[in-house]
């Protein structure tokens, strides 16, 4: 009887460990961050790209429905791909679009928006990448949708796709 219990417990543990590892095989092994939805991002100040004056993010938030912060750089290829969507989002009456220029040379950043068009109402500089870390970013490009109180509504990591674009429009139209 004792031997039976022993084998049963051993079998139970084996099955449990197997199931645990089996489940892990199908999990995405790249890190998917908790998006911290509905949490407030830290208020920050940064210098603007064109005027080089210090601006607080709070001063840029208008009474429009949503504020979008897009982290980008002129050296980032996916940023070029998503640029067309940003240009379209610029036209939306409920959206204010702010660019956060990540670890870039101001001259190159200016050239980028000159060549491809400037979708942003204001571009802030983040030369050391510290502001991006403060709002929880990993790199470029990343897009944050905020309400007027700086609460994070949605976060897109990586290049914006058409599906993401539609999602943003839907949020703005709500």
């Amino acid at each position: 009887m004792k031997k039976k219990i022993y084998y049963f417990v051993l079998l139970l543990i084996t099955v449990f460990v197997f199931l645990l590892l089996y489940k892990a095989i199908f999990q995405n092994n790249s890190y998917v961050p908790s998006s911290k939805i509905n949490k407030k991002i830290n208020e920050f100040s940064a210098r603007s790209l064109f005027l080089d004056n210090e601006i607080n993010i709070k001063d840029l938030i208008s009474q429009k429905k949503i504020t979008i912060i897009n982290i980008w750089a002129s050296w980032c290829a996916p940023c070029r791909n998503e640029h067309e969507y940003l240009m379209k989002l610029k036209e939306h009456p409920n959206i204010i679009l702010i660019g956060l220029n990540y670890k870039d040379k101001p001259s190159k950043a200016k050239l980028f928006v000159k060549d491809f068009g400037n979708p942003f109402s204001t571009i802030l500089k983040d030369p050391k990448g510290i502001i991006s870390i403060d709002i929880g970013a990993y790199g470029v490009p990343e897009t944050y949708i905020l309400d007027n109180d700086l609460n994070l509504k949605k976060k897109f990591i990586g290049e914006l796709t058409f599906k993401n674009f539609e999602e943003i429009i839907e949020i703005a139209n709500r």
Partner: protein, 120 residues
């Protein structure tokens, strides 16, 4: 004589600032070795030269200069990126199994060995 005094003062200042800088860099190394580079495969922030890792290292330096303690820096980064960023996650509801499982296995294995020894 006066010159000597000035020279000593200058030397003290020089070495003191060097010593502080050295202390800072040791602490930056220590903290960054305990942080996972979130965009790299299997590298710590210390090992990586990615933009993300370099920004984190810069931020650690800034936080140290602002007078933040080591734990405060970890807490700040955990708040931004979750427990995943630290190699040594704290014990909470989500990680309790991770911490307890090896202990359970160890105790269970130990009991099996003891049992075997006593039977023999």
């Amino acid at each position: 004589m006066k010159l000597k005094k000035y020279l000593i003062i200058i030397l003290i200042f020089f070495f003191q600032s060097n010593l502080l800088a050295n202390n800072n860099s040791l602490l930056i190394d220590k903290i960054s070795k305990n942080l996972r580079c979130l965009i790299c495969q299997g590298q710590s922030v210390y090992d990586s030269q990615s933009d993300f890792a370099n920004s984190v290292k810069f931020l650690i330096n800034k936080k140290i200069e602002e007078g933040n303690s080591e734990d405060e820096i970890y807490d700040y980064l955990i708040n931004k990126y979750g427990q995943w960023i630290v190699y040594d996650p704290e014990i909470n509801k989500k990680t309790v199994f991770l911490w307890l499982f090896p202990v359970i296995l160890f105790v269970f294995g130990g009991l099996l060995i003891i049992r075997k020894v006593f039977i023999n």
